[in-house]
Symmetry: C2
């Protein structure tokens, strides 16, 4: 078996003692590498990965709005501070807020037409970026990758109760 890529990249003199460690670090590195190009694309349009994610979620509900809690649930990366995230969208005119009349505790955040348009204009370039990024991998490989990633994170809830 060839020497692991990570071991060379990190200039380690010895292989990993635990394959689990090598696996986790590889996922971290891949996540970072895969995130970068998308992040740059978003940045060109004044969005961070988180704000883009929120805006996209809001498009899904458009023209209705969503409470903070629902937005939080749908985020790819869990962030506990939806208020300030949507603040930034509101200040850019990409979203607007309104207190619900049924339950005055909840605040509905709704994309503006401008917000929907912006996120729409990113669909195509984002798709191109993603496809180009993984163009060297077969459909089977991607499918396997997805399956393994799902499995890797699936039992996290067990972890909690065992701690």
């Amino acid at each position: 078996m060839a020497k692991s890529l990570l071991v060379s990249e990190l200039k380690q003199t010895k292989p990993f003692r635990l394959i689990e460690e090598e696996a986790v670090l590889n996922v971290q590195r891949a996540a970072e590498a895969l995130r970068r190009p998308t992040e740059l694309l978003m940045k060109e349009h004044g969005l961070s990965p988180s704000t883009y994610n929120v805006l996209r979620i809001l498009r899904g509900a458009y023209p209705e709005g969503l409470p903070c809690h629902d937005i939080s649930e749908r985020m790819v990366s869990h962030v506990p501070d939806i208020t300030r995230l949507t603040d930034r969208l509101v200040s850019k005119g990409l979203a607007e807020r309104e207190r619900s009349s049924e339950d005055r505790r909840v605040v509905l955040t709704r994309a503006t037409a401008e917000g929907v348009e912006l996120v729409g204009s990113l669909d195509a370039p984002l798709g191109e970026t993603l496809k180009a990024q993984l163009s060297h991998m077969t459909r089977d490989e991607l499918q396997t990758m997805i399956g393994l990633m799902e499995k890797a994170r699936a039992p996290q809830s067990d972890q909690e109760s065992a701690g």
Copy 2:
């Protein structure tokens, strides 16, 4: 084929249009899930993932020190600001700095005995955490996972030149 886990988790009503997107998001989510337990462990000892990573790199060179640039190269996640990262270690007494006599531009950062001891004390619990976290996966699956992650990030350099 069963409905994708991510689609349910994100409460999406439609499947992903691009398998590449589903793959990238799954890697992001897995990375986050896998990072969490380790992060908590480090935090209990006053370390962030980054400062732990630096300390571990310094242990690899112990009792010698390393220049910032070398530390940066060996980091799992690339951070451009080694100075303030090592600052925190120095202020905790886990590392110390000294200007090189050969090249007075470079600053060697070296772990202290205390630093080496701390990182050593984390080896066992970290290993246990990692093993428990992935205990439901076979060695073959982990090996496949490693291979796919390496492949997924390998051609990132092509991306750059094509941009």
